[in-house]
């Protein structure tokens, strides 16, 4: 671990933060300047994250680029950031998707451009902050802070029922995070009984958490877990998602699906498992069952949706079920699969949302029944939708397969779950994914043109192609050569698994890694 302070991550946080403040000084009439500035700032953050990626050493298992500055000395809280192989992937995803979404909303966001760009950049700060925090207090601050811009993005630029959706989103998440706050404070106080000082430093708590008395550990684990499960969202905490997704503007949906949901799964990997390994292994079967219900349930409900965005939203429930299953299988294959699946879902579902948004901009309807036969009118769009759907349903050679395959394989041999049944049920989700995506595709793209107004549709323009191509490149890249990404997180996932399984309190024997 680098012990000296490294400010790169701090710069990464500061770029969008200062950038968003800078935007406030631009006259709101100059919309194109604001758009370019927002895009440029987000791009700058992406470039910096690439620099971080290049300087990242995947051979190390600890946290890198650590920066620690005392913040509130009275309760021993510090600004403490650092990344490992799991977080760097998610940071890259965040900084990659933010400029894309900003770019994509150039046409669809027409009112209050300045405020929109401001909130998007602020959101980016919150998201990066969540992924880099090594202090629970700091984490909590970012976790909550990120809600606010999202709340406004849904609430101001959303659809007809945006207020309902944004309030629902906010309260759902808030409910979970308050539980987490209680646990964070409890942990800090508990730590004080050993070290004499209240602390929220994650690295210190890693040593203390597993020793928490069993009964309390269960509560702590559950309160952390429910908070994350709502974010994921795991069945049955998922109902905010369809509403939020449907009402949010395209950029909001993309970020919501692409990054925000990952914060839940990331939280589980980063906090739930290493802090409370004993409870995590105890609850693994129950949670896996919920995850599997989510996989099948999400897919079945997605199948019968009439609104394209809602369909994609429910498909997220299904996909994230895979991720949670993989995490709680606790084998290297499965957790690696989960990590890569987080990225995959961000790309595939992000692309799907972008595409739905693009066609919505043209027709102002998302009802599947209003479409049909657009393949011959807008072939490029149809191709792109096909590509994204295939990636989402896990066709080998594209990204989705890598994640799902590793997760299923890993859960099959998982010593924690110790049964085939989980995988057998989970794998059936693969079938349903094909059903709901292809059915949607068939009804939207194939067949005869049902509505006259569809004939005047315009195919993807250059800007939209430019948005999709980078995503598609990554979809192919991960599908064909996932090593680039798997290598990054390998050490870190192993560390997490070791933390859980090589623990005196957990009775599951570690499989040979």
């Amino acid at each position: 671990m680098y012990m000296e302070n490294n400010f790169l991550l701090t710069y990464l946080l500061l770029i969008p933060l200062l950038g968003s403040l800078l935007l406030l000084f631009i006259n709101k009439e100059k919309e194109s300047l604001i758009r370019w500035a927002g895009f440029g700032i987000a791009l700058l953050a992406f470039i910096l994250s690439l620099v971080i990626y290049l300087r990242f050493d995947p051979g190390q298992s600890g946290f890198q680029f650590v920066n620690k500055i005392t913040w509130i000395s009275k309760i021993n809280v510090s600004y403490h950031v650092g990344i490992d192989g799991i977080s760097i992937l998610l940071i890259l995803l965040t900084t990659f998707l933010t400029p894309i979404t900003l770019f994509s909303s150039w046409k669809s966001i027409k009112k209050k451009v300045k405020e929109f760009t401001f909130f998007m950049l602020l959101l980016e700060v919150g998201m990066i902050g969540v992924f880099v925090s090594l202090d629970l207090f700091l984490f909590y601050v970012f976790w909550e802070a990120m809600l606010i811009p999202m709340y406004f993005i849904i609430g101001i630029w959303g659809g007809e029922q945006r207020i309902y959706a944004s309030v629902k989103f906010f309260i759902y998440t808030m409910f979970g995070s308050l539980l987490m706050l209680v646990s964070i404070i409890w942990l800090g106080v508990y730590a004080a009984s050993f070290t004499g000082t209240f602390t929220t430093n994650l690295l210190d708590l890693y040593k203390i958490g597993p020793g928490v008395p069993h009964q309390i550990q269960v509560f702590m684990f559950l309160s952390f877990f429910i908070s994350f499960a709502i974010k994921v969202p795991l069945f049955p905490f998922h109902t905010w998602l369809p509403d939020a997704h449907v009402q949010a503007p395209t950029a909001g949906s993309v970020i919501l699906a692409g990054v925000l949901l990952k914060m839940g799964t990331y939280g589980i990997i980063r906090f739930c498992l290493p802090l409370f390994p004993q409870s995590a292994t105890e609850f693994a079967p129950v949670i896996s069952v919920l995850a599997i219900i989510g996989i099948i349930y999400g897919a079945l409900v997605a199948m019968v949706q009439k609104d394209m965005k809602k369909l994609v939203a429910y498909s997220s429930v299904s996909h994230l079920g895979f991720v949670v299953l993989g995490i709680f299988a606790m084998t290297t294959e499965a957790v690696q699969g989960s990590v890569i699946q987080m990225v995959n879902h961000g790309l595939s579902t992000g692309a799907l949302f972008l595409l739905v948004g693009m066609i919505y901009d043209r027709t102002h309807t998302r009802e599947i029944s209003n479409y049909g036969g657009i393949a011959k009118i807008i072939p490029l769009f149809s191709f792109a939708l096909m590509f994204a759907s295939l990636s989402s349903m896990g066709l080998p050679g594209l990204n989705g397969f890598v994640g799902e395959f590793l997760i299923l394989l890993g859960s099959f041999k998982s010593p924690v779950l110790n049964s085939w049944a989980y995988t057998i049920f989970a794998a059936s989700g693969v079938i349903f994914a094909a059903v709901y995506l292809l059915w949607m595709y068939q009804r939207v793209v194939f067949g005869e043109v049902k509505h006259q107004n569809l004939f005047s549709l315009k195919d993807l323009e250059k800007r939209e192609i430019a948005i999709l191509i980078p995503i598609f490149i990554f979809i192919l890249w991960i599908g064909i050569y996932p090593g680039t990404f798997l290598k990054l997180s390998e050490k870190s996932t192993n560390t997490v698994i070791q933390q859980v399984l090589v623990n005196p309190n957990t009775d599951v024997k570690v499989a040979k890694q």
Binding site: E333, F401, G410, F412, G483
Partner: protein
């Protein structure tokens, strides 16, 4: 050349990329067609060169692994993108690229003037790419890549004319059905892979098989692996209960039916079972299941084929039936016989489909054989090649189908039971009957079409592939001449493949002792049966056409049952598709999601809302009221002070 085997995979991919990206700009059909065909053609040449190189090598050095790069690695799993060239995969590669090339060439003529000409060739090339991955893959995951890839191409090509109607629905519905049913099979295949990984700690073919060879037969594990893999195979190769997609797949253009749904993709399941022969051989119970499923499929598909009137439907059921034969072969442990039938079937079934395509082309998309008749004189080349193919599939002595089918039937008798053989013969009899029913109704008798159609022979670009395939259908059988005829050399094809299957065969101990006399006797019975039913078809459909309609009236219930394909589609629709759809919509979404979960959430919110509305009543807005309440509070506080004083 073997080290360059990846070219056979890469070239079709390049063809796909060129046609896919620039195709709509090229516009010139010839260029597109040449790009599409030549990439596959060169692939074929590479495969052929590799084959000859292998021939020159001693038997134990014929296996080659060409590693490209590491694909998936996590934990103990390390999947390499690697190709395995051995006796089995090279045979399959030759079939796929060879037949594929011919069909590509044929398609130039068939798809002429289609508005999405380029797209068609792009898809075809993509298919060859995926199929080659399936065949050449060195491990289960690369095989699965191809496995799903061909499924995708099948989907794209079935729905190629996405705006056309097909039967009761649209072509895209048929395409979706194909993909989804295949996915059900893939689900089994995936589980099989996982179980293999759990058991053998590897997914590499050679590692798995060499470990499987050493492992004792430990009962259930092998059984489960074999069962899961077989579920995968039933999906891809259209066996009971997952055969329903293949007849619908005929919605695609005819060359697609020839290439994907007859010659290559559907045999992937057979290939996979052959590839994993050692695993299957270790699970005797599943072998029996495979044999029975194969035979049942063969039989039922043949009965359905008897009454179909759509030319492609007849061929489709015939394909299902022939695939059943192949699985019968697998089930009785005659792996090389099965692969042999894959090869000969590829020749004559591709030929039949291309011939049918030629007819459809001439008849302007009319596919109902009741509206054909007397086409012999209009399309002589198609006619002759079609006859050859029909004779081959019926098992006419000396043609390829005769050798391969009899090999299977003989093995069914020798290593299975008389019953298997008997049903097999019955199926063969029906096969000959419906093929010749088709033939006579199409080329003989009165012309039952309107003469505005002006049927004509297809252009050379279509007929030349027909002729080549016809030649192959005739001579293709001689490389697998049974030992009865070839004497000392034994069965060439079998001995070529024997290094692949030897361990499985050792485990099965298949080689019992049956005399050559028996083999010849059985052969004669099947030849007699085939000739008999050909004559019967000839008699009914050219001499006394009224017999057909009389019989169908007499057994009208049976006839309807067969015509409607045993109502399998309807049963699936009613028992699986509808309940899932309705249940998901009515129960899961509308009730579980909207009422229960969201109801709880919104209920909690509205509880707070209601409580707040109640408390809100205290906010009258009158300051004096507030002051009064405050005073009440003060009085209470004072009471408390007094009491604690």
């Amino acid at each position: 050349m073997i080290d360059y085997i990846y070219l056979t995979v890469l070239l079709p991919l390049i063809g796909f990329l060129i046609n896919g990206i620039f195709g709509h700009k090229i516009k010139n059909e010839k260029i597109i067609g040449i790009i599409g065909s030549s990439t596959v053609g060169v692939s074929f040449l590479v495969a052929l060169a590799s084959f000859f190189q292998m021939l020159s090598l001693p038997v134990d050095q014929r296996k080659h692994v060409v590693e490209l790069f590491s694909w998936l690695s996590a934990g103990g799993l390390n999947i390499k993108f690697a190709y395995l060239v051995d006796q089995l995969s090279i045979v399959m590669a030759l079939i796929v690229t060879g037949v594929g090339f011919l069909i590509h060439v044929y398609s130039i003529g068939y798809m002429h003037a289609d508005k999405s000409f380029w797209r068609f060739f792009a898809y075809l090339n993509l298919f060859i790419f995926a199929m080659m991955n399936l065949i050449l893959g060195d491990n289960f995951v690369v095989l699965f890549l191809g496995w799903e890839g061909v499924g995708l191409c099948s989907y794209l090509l079935i729905g190629f004319w996405y705006d056309r109607k097909f039967e009761k629905g649209t072509t895209s519905q048929a395409a979706k059905k194909a993909f989804v049913v295949n996915r059900i099979g893939d689900f089994g295949f995936l589980l099989g892979m996982f179980l293999i990984y759990l058991t053998f700690d590897s997914l590499n073919f050679q590692e798995v098989f060499s470990k499987a060879e050493l492992f004792p037969i430990s009962g259930t594990v092998y059984g489960f692996i074999a069962l899961f893999l077989f579920i995968g195979a039933t999906g891809k190769s259209a066996q009971i209960p997952l055969f329903v997609w293949l007849p619908d797949a005929m919605a695609g253009p005819t060359p697609v039916s020839a290439l994907i749904h007859a010659a290559t993709m559907v045999t992937a399941g057979v290939y996979m079972v052959a590839r994993c022969s050692i695993i299957f051989a270790s699970a005797p119970a599943i072998m029996t299941v495979i044999a029975i499923v194969g035979l049942l499929t063969a039989f039922f598909a043949a009965t359905v084929g008897l009454v179909q009137n759509d030319i492609k439907k007849v061929l489709a059921y015939s394909t299902v039936s022939q695939l059943g034969y192949m699985f019968l072969a697998m089930g009785v442990g005659a792996f090389s016989a099965g692969i042999f039938h894959v090869m000969t079937h590829a020749f004559f079934k591709a030929l039949l489909f291309l011939g049918a395509g030629s007819i459809i082309h001439a008849m302007h998309d009319q596919q109902d054989i009741q509206h054909y008749g007397g086409l012999k004189k209009y399309m002589p080349k198609t006619y002759i090649t079609f006859v050859i193919a029909a004779l081959a599939i019926s098992g006419f002595p000396g043609l390829s189908g005769f050798f391969s089918k009899d090999e299977i039937l003989w093995n069914a008798y020798a290593h299975g039971s008389v019953l298997l053989w008997a049903v097999g013969i019955l199926t063969a009899l029906m096969t000959a009957f419906y093929m010749f029913r088709l033939l006579f109704l199409t080329f003989f008798g009165k012309e039952r079409f309107s003469h505005d159609l002006h049927p004509h022979e297809s252009p050379a670009v279509m007929t030349v592939p027909l002729i080549i395939l016809a030649v192959l259908s005739v001579v293709g059988g001689y490389i697998g001449l049974p030992a009865v005829f070839s004497g000392e050399n034994g069965n060439l094809f079998e001995s070529w493949l024997s290094p692949i299957f030897s361990s499985a065969e050792r485990r099965l101990e298949v080689y019992g002792s049956h005399g050559h006399f028996e083999e010849i006797l059985l052969m004669m019975i099947s030849v007699a049966a085939a000739l008999g039913s050909i004559y019967l078809a000839y008699y009914i459909y050219t001499k006394k056409p009224e017999i057909a309609s009389k019989t169908s009236r007499k057994f009208s219930k049976l006839y309807r049952l067969l015509l409607n394909k045993y109502y399998v589609d309807e049963v699936y629709e009613a028992t699986i598709v509808q309940p899932l759809q309705k249940g998901s919509e009515k129960i899961l979404w509308k009730i579980a999601d909207n009422k229960i979960i969201d109801g709880t959430v919104n209920g909690a919110a509205s509880l707070i809302d209601k409580t707040a509305a109640l408390i809100r009543r205290f906010q009258t807005g009158f300051t004096q009221f507030y002051a009064f309440i405050m005073m009440v509070g003060i009085a209470i506080a004072l009471f408390w002070i007094i009491l604690s004083f």
